[in-house]
């Protein structure tokens, strides 16, 4: 299948910390890729480099053959690469619906629609409906209909996560990067949440990369796994292969089990 996103030999240092150490990955169109690795392994850094939030020291990133390494986040968004955040980035003073409308407004504006002189309600590019309808549709799809008029500020954690992801759908991304979409969500709810997100995303047809700590969730949803350790990708394979790789077991899965034990310990304490 065609490669849509091609990261080549990315390196990034923060002082003494090497957050990316020769990271390369070619992502195929319409694939679902799980990014795993313990905290500090470099997953978010990878996403940050792809979306232009930080620039790699060396290396390049190509989207459909175009070099996007030097582009600003908003330009990368405009080419069709969108992201959600480990900590949801919402408009706290606006309602859920208004959060959606602002996002769709930007999409309209970038398409040269909905300016000062335009009349009527133009259709959102990619969705053949005006913004209000698209907003309702996306919110429904993410199960956010009940929260429509609630302020983003007062939403429960899982709902904030969902809204953060729903906002990225406004631009109809061709690549979606989800940084820990299920973090802060209880183990029982994780599957339901991922189910919903993947259904919504696939309905619009996007390539997905998601960061996830729960290996069951990873093996259930990912077609391919990138395992990060110490700024490097130590395994890049289908989940059943990657998750049984000795190195991955030692540095990632083991670490995750350890991490979960710690969390349980903390919860019991």
């Amino acid at each position: 299948m065609a490669v849509v996103l091609d990261a080549r030999d990315l390196n990034k240092r923060f002082g003494a910390v090497t957050a990316a150490n020769g990271v390369s990955a070619a992502i195929e169109q319409d694939s679902v890729v799980g990014l795993i690795g313990t905290n500090g392994a470099g997953k978010t850094t990878f996403i940050n480099m792809i979306t232009g939030y930080i620039k790699p020291d060396t290396g390049s990133i190509h989207f459909r053959g175009r070099d996007i390494t030097a582009l600003a986040p908003r330009e990368i968004t405009r080419v069709g690469i969108c992201r959600s955040f480990q900590i949801p980035q919402l408009y706290a003073s606006l309602s859920v619906f208004e959060n959606m409308m602002v996002s769709l407004g930007v999409v309209l504006r970038n398409a040269g629609l909905g300016g000062f002189f335009s009349r009527g309600r133009p259709n959102v590019p990619g969705y053949d409906a005006p913004a209000e309808e698209v907003a309702e549709r996306i919110l429904e799809r993410f199960g956010l209909g009940d929260y429509r008029d609630k302020n983003a500020q007062v939403l429960p954690g899982g709902v904030r996560k969902l809204l953060d992801i729903a906002l990225t759908m406004a631009a109809k991304p061709s690549i979606l990067l989800l940084d820990e979409p299920t973090s802060g969500v209880s183990a029982e709810e994780k599957f339901g949440m991922m189910e919903m997100v993947m259904a919504a995303v696939k309905a619009e047809g996007a390539t997905v990369l998601f960061v996830e700590h729960d290996m069951e969730v990873v093996s259930r949803f990912a077609e391919r796994v990138l395992a990060f350790y110490d700024g490097r990708i130590i395994a890049d394979a289908a989940p059943e292969i990657a998750l049984t790789d000795p190195e991955v077991k030692r540095y990632v899965v083991g670490g995750e089990l350890h991490r979960m034990d710690e969390q349980k310990g903390a919860a019991n304490a």
């Binding site: 979306t51 600003a72 986040p73 908003r74 330009e75 968004t77 405009r78 969108c82 992201r83 955040f85 980035q89 919402l90 408009y91 706290a92 003073s93 606006l94 309602s95 208004e98 409308m101 602002v102 996002s103 407004g105 930007v106 999409v107 309209l108 504006r109 970038n110 909905g114 300016g115 000062f116 008029d149 609630k150 302020n151 906002l167 990225t168 406004a170 631009a171």
Partner: protein
């Protein structure tokens, strides 16, 4: 509580108020006509501040553009013998917008207190320059030619009325345009910028560019206000750019709230009225009266006077 969707009854209301001014104006005493004109002029500046405030930015130097508007009107008379009010306002707006377009490249990089203080510094620079420039009257300022409109000079009896109606018409038009702008995606980005610039960037919009546009619009509005004040007072001086003048505009904006494009005008009328009355009653403590009234508004109407008029769902 959200402030993203401006109210829709604004346009008919603006029209009704304008009509009321035209019809009832002749019944008002001259001092009231003057007070209203000055309030409209200041309301224009406050409208510009409101645009910025919606995006979370407070300019402590909006008087810069008020002053540019005033001095543009003054210079038109002094150097080109032009006294047409509409031309004064159009040129005042253009000059202010041009300066803001340039300075905006600098200002739009800053947020919070830096934005505020930098804008104040720029305003004080203009104050300093004007105070030193002989050809523009130094600290004494210069007089403005008696107002005309479309080549007609109203008889003395009617000047105040004509200036007020002209000012109100321009203000109503400006408020309607701002209202329209607030409904565009760029206008609706304001609260988003205030809340979360990271998300704004990751949606594919430039917060800096959006702020730059708001800054220029605000300057144009302030330039109109400055030109109107100049033609109403008949005199301009560098105090128009002084930081206390900017303070007044912030005062009015906070008093008014950001909920409607009409709010700044209401705030300005109240401000001018309180000041006039307080000054009449007790010339030495009028600032205290003003201070107390602002305090009351902040405590009891934290979203400004306009919340008295708009009953919105509490979120």
């Amino acid at each position: 509580m959200s402030n993203i969707t401006p109210r829709d009854r604004t346009l008919p209301m603006l029209g009704a108020v304008l009509l009321a001014v035209i019809v009832l104006g002749p019944l008002l005493p001259k001092w009231a006509l003057f007070l209203l004109t000055i309030a409209i002029a200041k309301g224009m500046v406050s409208l510009g501040l409101m645009l910025q405030l919606r995006a979370g930015l407070v300019s402590f130097g909006q008087a810069l553009y008020y002053c540019i508007g005033g001095y543009t009107a003054g210079s038109l008379g002094r150097f080109f013998d032009i006294s047409d009010m509409l031309l004064q306002m159009i040129c005042g707006a253009s000059a202010a917008a041009f300066v803001a377009l340039i300075l905006g490249f600098l200002l739009a990089r800053y947020r919070g207190i830096f934005y505020g203080l930098l804008s104040m510094a720029l305003s004080m620079i203009l104050y300093g320059l004007l105070a030193k420039s002989e050809s523009l009257g130094s600290t004494d300022g210069i007089n403005i030619l008696p107002s005309t409109i479309f080549g007609i000079r109203p008889v003395q009896e009617w000047v105040r009325y004509v200036v007020l109606v002209t000012g109100c018409s321009v203000a109503a038009l400006a408020a309607a345009l701002v209202q329209r702008y607030l409904k565009t995606p760029l206008g609706q980005l304001s609260p988003a910028i205030k809340d979360n610039e990271i998300r704004v960037e990751y949606m594919g919009a430039s917060a800096r560019k959006a702020i730059h546009v708001k800054y220029v619009i605000a300057a144009a509005l302030s330039g109109i206000g400055g030109a109107l004040a100049a033609t109403a007072v008949g005199h301009i001086d560098p105090d128009m750019a002084y930081w206390t003048t900017s303070g007044e505009f912030i005062f009015i904006t906070i008093l008014a709230g950001t909920r409607s494009v009409a709010a700044p005008f209401l705030g300005a009328i109240l401000f001018e009225t309180i000041r006039t009355v307080a000054f009449d009653i007790s010339p030495n403590t009028w600032q205290m009266t003003l201070g107390i009234s602002l305090l009351l508004v902040i405590v009891f109407l934290p979203e400004g006077l306009w919340s008295l008029f708009s009953r919105r769902k509490a979120a």
